[in-house]
């Protein structure tokens, strides 16, 4: 297994490399750019625009920009010397050897053109809120989908099964942005006013989440702080999980039904095993095989696919940052985010494969 994991991790490197090339090319080929903010501002001349581009390296051809972003090229040099670091060694080598500090290969994701902040620290700051949102959503999503799917399969064609089917169709078809806004209208200001419309903490009561003053506040008022965050989590988590529960509950039901019709389940029943054992030990474990793969592939999109949900609910996470970076053509931030998304997909695939082997002992790597 360990050999398999190492092999897969090594295989992931060229995959990620390829992804970065494609994404970078698409990003920079798209119309508009960071200078769009100066569009037709008569005081910002073409000369100013060119100066701005030069300062951010946007005046270079796309391959050169990519090369710098990767850390293969040294922005201080020109011509073929771009491949040489300040120490005379190739620029792509570690900083201690090449003297080069820019680029992914040297752990530098660049600086946000929009905010002037280091991309790595921007993303790191937004990661925890996203992890809290996605983590809670993940647990609720899998538990509820499992419960609904298994119960509906066991009680096939029952009222519950029919209701679950209706919920699945409606939930799957419901646009996230619409559901989010409707929930705000129902439960926040315009409606019942029992849940906050957005944010992660109540501004009048608490310091902002993650700020220097937040953790001392949290330590002094843990219960209040947790309740505050939970209140802010309810609507976005609900919005986020509805589609996934709807889809996966159907998937689990289908898989479970197939398993329940297998010979080994009939044998187990014939042996007089308790229903609980038949369902959970014999049927469910086998039914979970395709489900594990499916969920494994869906998890990265829970983190990155919270773009709409985080934006509507003003959740200060990676999804909202993606929207902001897209709006402002902030290439370094977008590349950093897309790299992490790609890595998550690759990692999730790997975890799904490993879990597959754990769930199904027949599978050996």
């Amino acid at each position: 297994m360990s050999k398999y994991i190492i092999r897969r991790l090594i295989q992931a490197i060229p995959v990620l490399f390829g992804i970065t090339i494609v994404v970078y090319a698409i990003l920079l080929a798209a119309p508009g750019g960071p200078t769009a903010r100066f569009a037709n501002n008569p005081k910002f001349t073409e000369a100013d625009r060119e100066k701005f581009k030069k300062a951010w390296g946007l005046d270079q051809p796309i391959p050169v920009q990519y090369c710098r972003w990767m850390g293969i090229c040294n922005p201080e040099n020109e011509g073929l010397a771009v491949f040489i670091g300040s120490t005379g060694w190739p620029a792509f080598l570690p900083t201690s050897i090449s003297g080069t500090t820019n680029g992914l290969l040297h752990g530098d994701l660049g600086v946000s053109i929009d905010t002037g902040e280091a991309v790595a620290s921007r993303i790191a700051r937004a990661a925890l809120p996203t992890f809290i949102l996605a983590g809670n959503a993940l647990v609720i999503w899998i538990l509820v989908a499992l419960l609904i799917g298994v119960y509906a399969a066991i009680h096939r064609y029952s009222l519950f099964d029919q209701a679950a089917t209706v919920f699945a169709y409606v939930g799957y078809a419901m646009p996230t942005f619409w559901l989010g806004i409707m929930l705000i209208f129902l439960f926040s200001g315009p409606g019942l006013n029992i849940l906050p419309a957005g944010g992660m903490t109540e501004t009048r009561l608490s310091p902002p989440f993650g700020s220097d003053t937040y953790w001392p506040y949290f330590a002094a008022n843990p219960a209040t702080a947790i309740v505050d965050i939970v209140k802010h989590l309810i609507l976005p988590v609900f919005t986020l999980v509805v589609v996934n529960i709807a889809g996966d509950s159907r998937f689990i039901r289908s898989s479970m039904l197939e398993a329940l019709g297998q010979d080994y389940v009939r044998t187990a029943k014939a042996k007089g095993l308790p229903v609980r054992v038949v369902i959970f030990k014999h049927a469910l474990r086998n039914a979970l095989l395709p489900v594990v793969t499916n969920i494994g592939l869906e998890i990265p999109f829970l983190f990155t696919g919270a773009i709409v949900t985080e934006t509507i609910f003003s959740w200060p996470g990676i999804g909202r940052m993606t929207i902001e970076a897209t709006r402002s053509f902030d290439y370094p931030t977008l590349m950093g985010l897309l790299l992490i998304t790609s890595a998550l997909v690759v990692l999730a695939n790997l975890i799904a494969d490993i879990t597959y082997a754990i769930v199904d002992p027949r599978i050996k790597y």
């Binding site: 008569p42 910002f44 905010t115 002037g116 280091a118 009048r204 902002p208 003003s314 200060p316």
Partner: protein, 593 residues
């Protein structure tokens, strides 16, 4: 898309505003009354003394009480803190609370001294000399108020002004939203005393008043090389609480994605009262979506919901007096391309102006929320004159075209000298604009002019000269349009008309994208460029506005509105449609007992 209105130096800039919300049914809201001193537009006269400085605000402000916090919501996030790099409305609002300059712009469109002492320099009071001293084209002498200090206690002096100028003009500086216009005309700044500032210009520069809108702290900006500041060093979220500021508030904490906390700067002295701000703190809370922000306002999460548009009015009509809708400086208009085969004919432009029913556009598309525009000058500008209103008259339009030799062809579309009257109408993908052009296309058809509506991305239509090609669809700087519909922010400075309407200002040099080429207009703009005499400028602007209508430079459609939801508990909130923003008087805000 976010509404980018352009904080820095936008008081003198004309800029595009591509995206604002659509309007729908007319709400019952409290419209902010036109500023009292601007309600009547006087006729210009060369002998008239133009007073730019007598705001009625000091008589309208009321005494407040100390303490409390105001939470302002916005659906755009401020994330640049150096005023000279900022380009968003919300960033300008933050800056107005923390930085000061020589003068500010009041809610009734007057200049008021801030760091500078009264009176502000003019030709009339001898503060401005043309020609200037010692061979200068112009010399401006400012006197700063005594006893003004940065938030760290260091005095604000002439040295800070010099440092700001040098910082702006540093060869490594880039990304300055307002560019270096005006700054590059300065040859030297002398400091005869810590509070005397003598600015030497190599050219006559009309906009010398708002040039020093923000004075930066020398003892901060000189600690970081400009090259590094451009690349993101300094002015960072972590730095800002330590950066010395001059406004009524200073940076408390910045938590990106969530909020910005400003706390009272106790060393600030209000120019009217000499006292610090009333409020303890002002918090900006960032929402990801305008609807969520409105919901947050209704839930009591915030005391003000900012940066809304006329399109949001129907959603908030039940909030009554809490809705503050003010005519914005943004006007929507049709821009005929004087270089296009059809619109180069003045008769065709006249016909276009007559074939646009502004009332019907307002009623059918904007639900009556808009304020019809007749010129590109805000009715509140100090040089505004009542324009001639071109009434909708299709018969007159037809007769003008007939007289000009545009004869109907076999398919009913007019032709002249082998040119078919077929107009390429261009705009962005915003539905409201497409609907407007569809209406106009119908009216044009009635007068025998064919047209096609082209809706393209903002990147295409507004792409700069170097970022577009001759094939970029509907691109303005490449003149790929017959008539374009978009929006401009009305300039407060007459000088801002120069790069847009002067024949020598076609892209990439300037922004005369409509290829306007008229000797009368050029003459007026040239004369404006060489004067700092406000009375003369007012007279010239009256002539410009007359020519603007007569020659159909543009067909203005309507002014948009700035909409804010403001809790009735906030005292002295006035709003301010200029780029100074609604926080221009935040030092006077207070929580009503």
């Amino acid at each position: 898309m976010r509404k980018r209105l352009f904080g820095l130096l936008a008081s003198t800039a004309i800029v595009f505003a591509a995206c604002q919300g659509a309007a729908s049914p007319s709400p019952s809201v409290s419209e902010s009354a036109p500023p009292p001193s601007e309600s009547a537009a006087p006729s210009p006269s060369a002998a008239e003394v133009v007073d730019l400085f007598t705001s009625t605000y000091p008589t309208r402000r009321v005494q407040g009480v100390k303490g409390g916090t105001v939470i302002i919501g916005d659906w755009q996030e401020a994330n640049l803190w150096n005023p000279y790099y900022q380009g968003q409305v919300i960033e300008a609002n933050v800056t107005s609370a923390v930085f000061r300059g020589f003068i500010t712009t009041t809610d009734d469109f007057r200049y008021a001294t801030d760091l500078a002492a009264d009176p502000a320099p003019t030709v009339a009071n001898g503060g401005v000399k043309v020609p200037g001293d010692g061979g200068d084209a112009m010399t401006v002498t400012w006197t700063m108020r005594d006893g003004q200090v940065w938030s760290d206690g260091k005095p604000i002096t002439c040295d800070d002004v010099v440092a700001t100028w040098k910082w702006v003009m540093d060869k490594d500086n880039t990304g300055l939203y307002g560019g270096t216009t005006g700054w590059e005309d300065i040859t030297a700044i002398d400091c005869p005393s810590p509070t005397s500032v003598v600015v030497h210009f190599k050219n006559v520069y009309f906009d010398y008043l708002p040039l020093f809108s923000w004075v930066l702290p020398k003892h901060y900006i000189e600690t970081i090389p400009v090259k590094d500041q451009v690349a993101g060093k300094g002015w960072s979220n972590a730095d800002m609480p330590k950066v010395p500021v001059s406004g009524p508030f200073k940076y408390g904490s910045i938590t990106p994605g969530q909020e910005l906390r400003l706390v009272r700067n106790d060393l600030y002295k209000n120019p009217i009262t000499g006292e610090p701000a009333y409020l303890d703190s002002v918090v900006f809370k960032w929402y990801g979506d305008a609807d969520a922000m409105i919901a947050g306002y209704r839930a009591g999460e915030i005391d003000q919901a900012g940066d809304l548009t006329d399109g949001d009015l129907p959603k908030v009509k039940d909030l009554g007096d809490q809705v503050k809708a003010q005519p914005a400086l943004l006007y929507e208009f049709l821009r005929p391309n004087w270089g296009s085969p059809t619109m180069k004919d003045p008769a065709m432009r006249q016909a276009l102006a007559l074939a646009v029913n502004k009332d019907e556009i307002n009623t059918r598309i904007l639900a009556g929320n808009a304020e019809i525009a007749w010129t590109n000058v805000s009715p509140f500008a100090w040089y505004y004159v009542e324009p001639t209103k071109t009434a909708f008259d299709l018969e007159k339009a037809k007769s003008i075209l007939d007289a000009a030799g545009w004869k109907p062809g076999a398919d009913g579309v007019r032709e002249k000298d082998g040119v078919r009257a077929d107009v390429k109408l261009c705009t962005t993908t915003r539905q409201q604009r497409q609907d407007t052009l569809a209406l106009i296309s119908g009216w044009l058809k009635e007068i025998g002019v064919a047209s096609t509506v082209n809706a393209v991305s903002p990147a295409d239509i507004f792409g700069s000269y170097n970022e577009s090609t001759d094939q970029t669809p509907c691109n303005l700087s490449r003149h790929n349009f017959g008539v374009a519909e978009h929006a401009f922010s009305v300039p407060l400075s007459p000088q801002s008309n120069y790069p847009v309407y002067h024949s020598g200002q076609e892209a990439p040099k300037g922004q005369n994208d409509a290829q306007i080429n008229d000797p009368d207009i050029d003459r007026v703009l040239d004369e404006l460029k060489g004067t700092v005499d406000f009375a003369k400028a007012k007279e010239l602007m009256a002539e410009f506005q007359k020519l603007y209508v007569e020659k159909v430079v543009e067909v203005p459609l309507y002014f948009r509105k700035d909409v804010n939801l403001v809790s009735t508990k906030i005292g002295n909130w006035t709003g301010n449609p200029t780029s100074t923003g609604y926080t221009w008087n935040v030092g006077d805000w207070f929580i009503k007992p």
